[in-house]
Amino acid sequence: MTLTAILIVSAALFGIGLFGALSQKSFVMLMMGLEMMLNGTLLAAVGFWAYTLEGAPSGQLLAILIMAVMAVELAIGFALVVAVYRKRQADVIEALGTLKQ
C-alpha cells in the first residue's frame, strides 16, 4: 500500500464519477456521479494525510470538510430535485431547457 497506489485508485473513482455525472440523464444519478467524484477526492485526501504529513491532524480536517461538502451537496441537491419536480414535473435533465420558464 503506497501513496501512488492510493492516488491511482482515487483517480479511477474520480474518472468513474465524472463519467457518471456527464452521462446520466436523471438528476439523482447525476448526483451519484458527483458523490463518486467526492469519494475519490476523500480517498486522495486521506492518502496524502497518511503518507506526506507525518500525521499532522489538519490533513484529517480536510477530509472532514470534504464529508461536509458531500452532505451539503446531497441535501441541497435533493431539495432542488423536489422543487423542480413540483414546479415542472421534470426528473431528467433534458426537461430543463431554461433556468426560468
Binding site: 500500500m1 501513496l3 501512488t4 497506489a5 492510493i6 492516488l7 485508485v9 483517480a11 479511477a12 473513482l13 474520480f14 474518472g15 468513474i16 464519477g17 465524472l18 463519467f19 457518471g20 456527464l22 452521462s23 446520466q24 440523464k25 436523471s26 439523482v28 444519478m29 448526483m31 451519484m32 456521479g33 458523490e35 469519494n39 476523500l42 486521506v46 492518502g47 494525510w49 497518511a50 503518507y51 506526506t52 504529513l53 507525518e54 500525521g55 491532524p57 489538519s58 484529517q60 480536517l61 477530509a63 472532514i64 470538510l65 464529508m67 458531500m70 452532505a71 451539503v72 446531497l74 441535501a75 441541497i76 435533493f78 431539495a79 432542488l80 430535485v81 423536489v82 422543487a83 426528473d91
Partner: protein
Amino acid sequence: MTDLAFYTLSALAIWSGWRVFRVDSMIRATFALMVSFIAVGGIALLMSAEFIGVATVFMMAVEMMVMALFMVMFMMNPAGLNPMRMVHQYGLSIGAGFAAFVGLTVAVLTTNLPNNPLPAGRDTLRDLGIELLGQSMLIFETAGVTLLATMVGAVVLSSRGGRFGDTNEGAVPPGLHPGGAPAGRKVETGGGHGGHGGHGAHAGHDMIMEDADVKDVDTHQSHDEAETDEPAAANDEHAGHTHHTATSDPTSDKIAPGDPHKTHGTEH
C-alpha cells in the same frame, strides 16, 4: 496482509463504482455506491484514519438510504425489471472520464511525491480531537454553520406554503405609499384560498395565506379611495406586513361589498 486488504478494498471500490452506472435498477445503483463508499472507509481505516473511516461508513449508510428513498419517490424503474439506459452524450462522457483517470494517473506517476509517512504509534484520534477543538476550531465551526444554512436552505426549497403561509410570507416588502401594493416584484398568486378571518376575535390565530394577503391589500386600496377620511395610521397598518392587524380592523368588514372576508367570516 494490509496490502491484500488494500487491493481487495480498492478493487471492490472501483468495481462497485463502475456498477453504479451500469446496473438497470436505481436501487441497486444506490447500494453499489454505498459499497464503494464503505470500501473507501475501509481503506481509510487501513491508513489508521479511524475517525474518517468510521464516519464515512456511518454517513454513507444513512445517505444512501435517503437516496434510495428518493429513487423510489421520483424515478422510474426502481426495481430494474427492464433494461434502463438513461444516458446522453455517452461517448463524450466515457472520453472525459477516461481522460480524467489517465491524466491524474500520469500526474501521480510523474510527480516526485513526498514521503513523510505517519509515525508508528501516533495517536491520530487524539490529535484530531485536539485539532478540531483547538487550532482549527474556526474551520470546524464554519462547517457546522454551513450545514445549518444547508438545512435551512433545503427546508425553504422543498416546503410548500403551510399553515402560516408561503415560505416568503413575512418577507413581502411594505408598500411604496400607505395602502399600496407591496413594493418590488409582483408575487404570483395561485388563488383559491380565499380570505380567512374577518372577525376581530378570530384574527389572532387565523391561517393566512400569501394570496389572501395580496387580495387584502387590493381591497384596502379600493376602500381607501372611497373613504378619504380614513386615518393615515390605519392605512399604515393595512399596508404593512402585520397582517393580523389588517384583518382585525372592523372597517374592512363594513365597507367593500365584494370583500372576501365578509363571506368567509361566518364559517368560524
